[in-house]
Amino acid sequence: MNKTIYRTLERYLSNRTSRRDFIQSLTAVGVTTLAAESLLASLNIELEADEGRGADGQVEMFEGTAGAALVEQLKAAGVKYIFHTNTTGIATMMDQVDQDKINVIMVTHEGQAVSAAEGYALASNTLGFFVGSKVGVGNSISNLYNAWKDHTPMIVSFGRQGLKSQGGQDGFEEWDDHLEPTRSFTAWNWSCVDAETMPKTLRRAMKFAFTPPGAPVTLDFPGDLLNKKINSPILKLNPKSARPLFRASSARIEKAAELLVEANSPIFIVGSEITRGGATKEIIALAEKLSVPVAQDRRSPLFSDFPTHHPLFLSEYSPPVRFPENIDLVINLGASASQEMPKGARLVHASSDADGIGKHRPTDLPILAHVSATIADLSDALDGILTKDRQQRIRSERLEKTSAYTRQLEQARQIALRGRFDQTPISWERVGYELEQALDKDAVLVPELGSQDYKLLHYLRQGEGQKHRIGRTAGSALGWGVGAALGVQLALPDRQVVAIQGDGGFMFGQSETLWSISRYDAPLLVIIMNNHSYNETRNRNLTRGGRQFETGQDMTSYLGAPDIDFAKMASAYDIQGAKVSDPNQLAPTLQRAIKTMRDGRPFVLDLEVARDGILSESDWYPRHSIAELRKKKS
C-alpha cells in the first residue's frame, strides 16, 4: 500500500493527476476519504514551496538515510556548497556529497564558516547553507547576528545528540533548548523530531529564509534521525521563487509619483534592497528621468546601490545635508529610515521590510513592496503624469545644479588626495587611489573597516558596471569580512575579489580562515590596513575628553606591542604576502599581488597606514607583565 500511496503522491505533485483521482486512488486501496483529504491538504502546503502546483514540476522519491535525503534536497534546490566546520554526527550527510553537483567547504571556526556562507549568498543571490557541530552554536552567533541584520537568506544548521539523549539529561555538548540562543537572529528555528519530514522541514526553512525581507533560519538534526532510513519526496525548487514578488497598489504608486512631480527639491535615499532586488540599472534610469539627486543610506553599508561617481550621486547621506537646499521630499528606496530626515521634508518609504517602515519616524507614504517593482511602477507612473518635454525641462535644470555640486565634491576629494599622497605612514587615500589604478574595473571589494572606510572607498569607482562592493555587514560585529570574502570568491570565481580589513578586525578570529583560502586556492587579495590601533574606538571613547584624553593614556585601543607581521603570518598558511610601508612601493607590490591572483593563489598585503584623530600619535598602552607577577623565579 505504501508504494501505491507514494506513486499516487508522486503523480499528484508532478501535476499528472487531479485531486479527485488522487482521492479515488487512495480510497481504492483502503485509505479512508478523511485520511486522503488530510494528506491532500498537506501536499498543498508542500506545493506552495514548489511555486504552486507542480509549477517547477519535478518530484523524485528518494530512499536512503535522512541525512542523505537532506543533501539531495539541497541539490534539488540548487545549493552547490555546504559550508561546514568539524563535527561528528553528520556522516550520512557527508556520505551523499558527490563533489559533482554539491561540494563541501571547510572553515575552521563556526563564526567564519557562517560569514563565508553569507558572503556566498550575498554574491550569488542564492541560499547560503552551513552545518556544524551541536556545541558550535555559541561560536556562530556573532555572524548569525550579522546575517540577520543584513537580511540574508541562509540556513545555519547543527548536528545534535540523538533524541533519546535530549531532555534534561545534561548530555555531552548538549543543552535542552538548543536553538534558543539563535532565536533573536532568525526568521524561524526548528529542532527536528522526525526523520521522514526532515527534507520537508528543510524546504520550509528555505521558504522562511526567503520570505521578505530575508533572514537566517537555524535547524538542528539529531544524529539518530539523520541515520534513519526514509522514503521521502525530493522537490526540485528554486528557493528564491518561493518568495513572492509583491507590488504596491497603483493608488500608492500614483501618490508617490505625484509627490515627486510636485516636489521642488526631492532626493532618493537608496539601500541594500536595490542590489538584492537586481534593480541597480533601474534606479539609475529612475533617478535620471527627473535628475533626482541620490544619497546612499549609511545604515545600509552592504552594497554601493548607486554608481559612486555618477553626477547625481551625493555620496553617503549625512544629515543635515548641504545640498540640495530645502529638501521637501525624501523617497527612501530599500533602505532603513533610521537617520534624521531634513526638517519639513515628506518621507516616502518603499521597502519589503514591513517591520522597518515607520519604525524610526512617521512616514507620509509607506509602500510595502519589492523595491524593484516599486521603481518600475514609479517610473511608469511618472511617464503617465509628465510629458517627455516636461521631464526633459525638469531633468536639465536639476542635473546642471546637482552635477555642479558633485563635481566640486570630487574636486575637493582630489585636493585631499594630493595633499596626503606621499605621506608615511601610507594615507588611506593613497591606498584607494592605487587600488583604483591596479584592480580590474569590475573587481569585488569586501571591506570590513571602521569609520575611516570612506577615506579609501571614495577613491574607488563602484556601482553598476564598475566595482562591486559587498560589505561592511550592517551588523558591524567584527570578525566577518575574511570569511565573507572567501564565500564571495567562491560565488564569483572569475572576478578579482579583495578583502580589505583593519588589523583590529582581522584579529577578531579571522586569521584561521587563511587556511581555507589556501586550501581551496581562493585567488583573493587580503589587504590589512595596519595602523596598530582600534582607531574608531579610540576616537569615540576620547571624544568627550576625560582622564584618558587629558593624560594621553588610552587604555584600550593601541594594538602594537607586539607589532604583528601579517605577511609572515600568511606564509604559515602557504600564502604569499608582503609588508609595505613606503607609499611608492604600493603600486609595484599590488602588481605582484595581482599576478599571484591571476596564477590562482591568494596574497596578503600588510600595509602600514596612518592612524587619525584623537591621540593618534600615541603608542601608549597599559603595560602589565604576567611573568613579573611570579613569585617563583625558577
Partner: protein, 187 residues
C-alpha cells in the same frame, strides 16, 4: 595675405571670450587650493570659516572640539575629513583651515575667541556671554546673530543644539532663550 572678414571676426570673438574668462577666474579665484596659496587673512577667514564649520562639520561633530593643532595639522585633518565625506567645497578649504587654526591652534585658550566681526553690536549681557562661550564651540556667532525666528522656533533650535551637545544649565537655557528671542526674533 588675404584674411577673410569672417575669420577676423571669429578670432576677435575668441579673444574676447578668452579675456573674459581670465577676468572671471581672476574675480572668483581658482578653486584649486594648494599649500602655497596664501591663506586669507585671519579676520576674513575666521568668520567665513566658522560658517563653513557650522554647515559642513557639524554633520558629524556634535561635541566641542578638544584638539589643538597647527595650521599644517588642521590642513591634514580637513583633508582627512573631506576624504571621509565632509561636504566641503574646494574654495572653502582654506577659510575652514584658517578658522580652525585660529580657534583651535596650539596657543588657543580652551574658551573660543570672541566673534571676529566687531560690527556686531554684542553687549556684555549674560545671554551674549553664554552664547559666545557655548554656541561658538561648534559654529560661528553669525549662525545665531543672522537668524530670525519666533520664540517657539528659537526654543526648538536650542533644544536641538542641546541634543547635538551644547552644554547649558537650565538657568542658562532660559537666559539664552530670552536673549535670542529679544534680539533675533521675528519682528
Amino acid at each position: 595675405m588675404f584674411i577673410s572678414f569672417r575669420y577676423r571676426i571669429k578670432t576677435l570673438l575668441v579673444g574676447i571670450i578668452f579675456l573674459l574668462g581670465l577676468a572671471l577666474i581672476g574675480i572668483q579665484g581658482v578653486g584649486i587650493a594648494s599649500p602655497s596659496r596664501p591663506i586669507p587673512s585671519q579676520s576674513d577667514g575666521v568668520s567665513e570659516g566658522g560658517k563653513i564649520f557650522g554647515q559642513a562639520c557639524i554633520q558629524c561633530h556634535t561635541r566641542p572640539i578638544l584638539q589643538r593643532k597647527t595650521e599644517e595639522g588642521w590642513r591634514d585633518t580637513v583633508y582627512s575629513m573631506i576624504s571621509r565625506g565632509a561636504q566641503v567645497m574646494p574654495n572653502e578649504i582654506d577659510p575652514l583651515i584658517s578658522y580652525l587654526s585660529h580657534q583651535y591652534g596650539p596657543d588657543s585658550s580652551s574658551q573660543p575667541a570672541e566673534a571676529a566681526d566687531g560690527n556686531i553690536a554684542v553687549s556684555e549681557e549674560l545671554g551674549q556671554k553664554i552664547i559666545s562661550r557655548v554656541c561658538t564651540q561648534c559654529h560661528a556667532i553669525e549662525v545665531v546673530t543672522e537668524s530670525r525666528k519666533s520664540e517657539v522656533e528659537w526654543q526648538e533650535t536650542i533644544n536641538r543644539m542641546i541634543m547635538y551637545g551644547a552644554v547649558l544649565t537650565a538657568d542658562e537655557k532660559s537666559v539664552v532663550e530670552s536673549y535670542v528671542t529679544e534680539h533675533f526674533g521675528i519682528q
